[in-house]
Symmetry: C2
């Protein structure tokens, strides 16, 4: 490196870092490895991790405690450290339903908790371009992969598509596939908003997760090819079960990126 200009003088370098900072650093790399399926079942021993990360054994233990707290690993004397559960990847990139996304991991089915005509609140009516007082269809589903609840989906649909949807098999189909069947054309676009929230007691019980655990909340307004909004969803995904993934590729216009 060349001569040190001014900003660098402010920066601490090669100083001893607090153990909690080091443990977080180790935990982040291990979390990514677990999610990527690097460890079939058992993680390396504490001793091996100490060497791999060049940190103290206590730092390794703290890192593993963080991942245990997140529900990613189990630890027991003699048995060592085991992967508790793999997370499933959900593509940010395509308007795929959960069933289509998890093809190959198991059977997705839906417990239909509500499916009815409602007069939506004005805020929902506006987003679906409904007239004041016009009815919408409300569908609420708890979505399972096998026996595992993955997400709780609250959905408002425009009546012309929604009423027909009510006559279809909502237990074993993705709504996107049904909407495309009914509308006779492909979906056109979607606006997404992703947040992290903690699970309130009732949502936690419904999703069979600990109260206060983290949820990915996806709000998605989906439009037909002609731009008409037809489907407004509020989707709570279990934070310990789902990772949203995507790739961005820069387009010729430097401010435009394609998600692939």
């Amino acid at each position: 490196m060349g001569a040190e200009p001014a900003p660098l003088r402010e920066v601490p370098r090669r100083v001893a870092r607090p153990r909690a900072d080091q443990a977080r650093q180790v935990a982040d790399v291990l979390r990514q490895q677990i999610n990527a399926g690097t460890y079939a079942k058992a993680l390396p021993t504490e001793q091996d991790l100490t060497t791999e990360f060049a940190v103290s054994r206590n730092t390794v233990r703290d890192a593993l405690a963080l991942l245990k707290e997140e529900g990613l690993i189990d630890r027991a004397p003699k048995v060592g450290t085991q992967v508790a559960q793999r997370k499933y990847d959900h593509g940010l990139d395509a308007l795929l339903g959960l069933k289509e996304t998890l093809r190959g991991h198991g059977e997705v089915h839906n417990e239909v908790r509500a499916a009815l005509l409602v007069t939506p609140p004005p805020a929902v009516a506006r987003r679906l371009h409904l007239n004041p007082g016009e009815q919408a269809v409300y569908i609420e589903r708890l979505r399972y992969l096998g026996d595992l609840p993955l997400s709780l989906d609250l959905t408002y649909l425009v009546p012309d598509i929604g009423e027909e949807l009510l006559t279809r098999d909502l237990v074993s189909n993705d709504l996107f596939a049904l909407i495309e069947q009914i509308s006779g054309g492909p979906l056109g676009s979607a606006d997404l908003a992703l947040e992290a929230i903690t699970a309130d007691p009732h949502s936690a019980a419904t999703l069979q997760m600990p109260e206060g655990a983290a949820l990915l909340l996806l709000e998605r307004l989906t439009k037909l090819d002609d731009g008409r909004p037809v489907d407004l969803e509020y989707i709570r995904m279990r934070g310990d079960r789902i990772t949203m993934r995507g790739s961005l590729i820069r387009q010729p216009d430097p401010n435009s990126w394609e998600l692939t």
Copy 2:
């Protein structure tokens, strides 16, 4: 609607729904309204919300309790219900740094907690295409908007770009802007993974948020135009401060979507 086929018989319709389910439904719509800036400061009265959502006053109260628990609103006798804080939108769509994203909302600055050469763990070395034992640059920053901590960013960089970065002003610049300056060309692509986790005690204290509050964890591997990975980041964003937003537009190939 036509004749009822078999699946519909399984579906409960127009049944009385548990109050907790109704409260969640109301809270989701109100949360979206708060995030969209619909309410300058005060929310409508309980009585008005009761009318707007066609639910009981107790359901409205339960919905507001959920949003208060998330830190989105404050409630007090006489004062009523007030928006506690707006969330900031962070684009999923472009490889913008936080400073560039929040232009117009205030000044972003970074507390540089570490900036040093490290021998990265093998898992990190592999993702950055480094040889075993080759050094990387590690930078850790707590990022503020004004006095408000928004995110804690752990970053590993390839040495040829990272060492030059260490000589730059890391307090007031986005890393993306600096990487483009140093590499002399635009970034090419990025792989994203988004998860929701709860804040461990030390991360919570660092980000000045309650222990156990929800974090959006973004893992992002960024590559130059030629495909070479240069920057691996683990970003903890406060769930109560950041919403990730994007729009998907279907491309001519029905399985390809552009994020805009």
